[in-house]
């Protein structure tokens, strides 16, 4: 039985929004920024996106090649482990299904890696079948470096730290290697609807 906080009344979301907001989250209109270190600024000419690991022929795209790939417009709600949720965010990006098309792999996990050394781990099935993208536009504009530009992973059904900023590729793996925050006590999977914020939740 959860104790009552004497004198607390709170501010509830509108009911139409409430059912879209996972437990413990609140809706924000802003787009807060959270990162563990400085925002990288690298020339776009040196950017590439790589798929490596458990794959016969590693794949790699330059920026020009990447943005020429078939893209999708995605409108989704996003949920940050620091408690904010943002509804109806719209992105343009390339589906991981497109990037992994025709790949035959025994991998069950991916480790996404980014400029600056950030990593995060996910089951391969959580970025497959229309569940994961590499996004490079936000609300129709090039993705701001503070928010992960030039490109970030977008996996909206998991807490947003799984949507790695400044992503440069994914490693296909047979074993599940915990990433950056997963090593610091955050949940290995991170389902916001089960409130899997920290290890053991």
């Amino acid at each position: 039985m959860t104790p009552i906080s004497r004198g607390f009344h709170g501010r509830r979301s509108e009911t139409t929004e409430a059912e879209r907001v996972p437990p413990g989250q609140y809706v924000t209109r802003d787009f807060p920024v959270l990162s563990a270190g400085p925002t990288p600024h690298n020339p776009i000419e040196s950017w590439s996106f790589e798929i490596r690991g458990e794959i016969d022929e590693p794949r790699s795209w330059t920026w020009e090649q990447f943005i020429a790939l078939p893209s999708e417009r995605i409108t989704v709600d996003i949920h940050c482990v620091t408690k904010w949720s943002k509804l109806d965010t719209s992105w343009t990006g390339v589906s991981l299904d497109t990037l992994l098309d025709g790949v035959d792999t025994s991998a069950e996990y991916v480790l996404a890696f980014s400029d600056g050394g950030y990593t995060t781990n996910l089951p391969l099935e959580d970025v497959s079948d229309g569940k994961g993208w590499v996004a490079y536009e936000f609300q129709g504009e090039p993705l701001d470096p503070e928010h992960g530009g030039p490109a970030r992973l977008l996996v909206p059904h998991l807490y947003f730290w799984k949507s790695a900023k400044w992503v440069r590729g994914i490693e296909l793996r047979q074993d599940d290697l915990p990433g950056f925050w997963e090593n610091y006590g955050y949940h290995n999977y991170g389902d916001p609807w089960k409130e899997q914020r920290y290890a053991g939740d």
Binding site: T2, R11, S35, A36, G37, G185
Partner: protein, 241 residues
Amino acid sequence: MERAAVRRRLNWQLARVVEVVAETERTKSIALDPPDWPGHLAGQHVDVRLTAEDGYQAQRSYSIASAPGDEHLVLTVERLDDGEVSPYLTEELRPGDDLELRGPIGGYFVWRESLGGPILLVGGGSGVVPLRAMLRHHRAIASEVSARLVYSARTRDDLLYRAELGDYETTITLTRERPEHWDGRTGRVDSALLSETAWPPADRPLVYVCGPTGFVEAVAEALVALGHAANRIRTERFGPT
């Protein structure tokens, strides 16, 4: 990359409020006695959960302001006028109340002596809170690691922990006020101020930057431009909410 020191399930617990101290007109420090506290590292935070009579709940994260060895767990909370939780914590909560929390959380924006230094702590506004935990810890263990604080506040009245800032090697800058008889700095934390206060990049100082996003972005970028390695700069940012 070091592993988290504490790895166990973080259960919610009720911590008794021991004392509420006004730091400024908008900011209070809340001293708590959690019944089952595993200890924390300087720089970590807790999640706080409030529950209304109808069962509605709200959660937020707050940095820990106390050192691991301090008698009480202290949170310093700034009232955001349009906030949902901070007005309750700063205006309503009083000694004898119970506050539900769990933690400690976070293992990267922390300092412990094995990480060495020298350490430069750069705080903007209430971003100084986790840095104060690091400085108190640094002093409590009589660390020989060199440590400096650069603290940016809007006005002199907005300064937190005024009574103890003199205990540390501190540079204060005020961004919205130039008071009479002020021997500190004024203006934003810029490249010039950082090149004076940060050690040379060759000394590889470990830098912790905490504050609002614009502040953290500007300071981190200036440090990188001065030649400091990005992987020696750890950041913690507060959104506008």
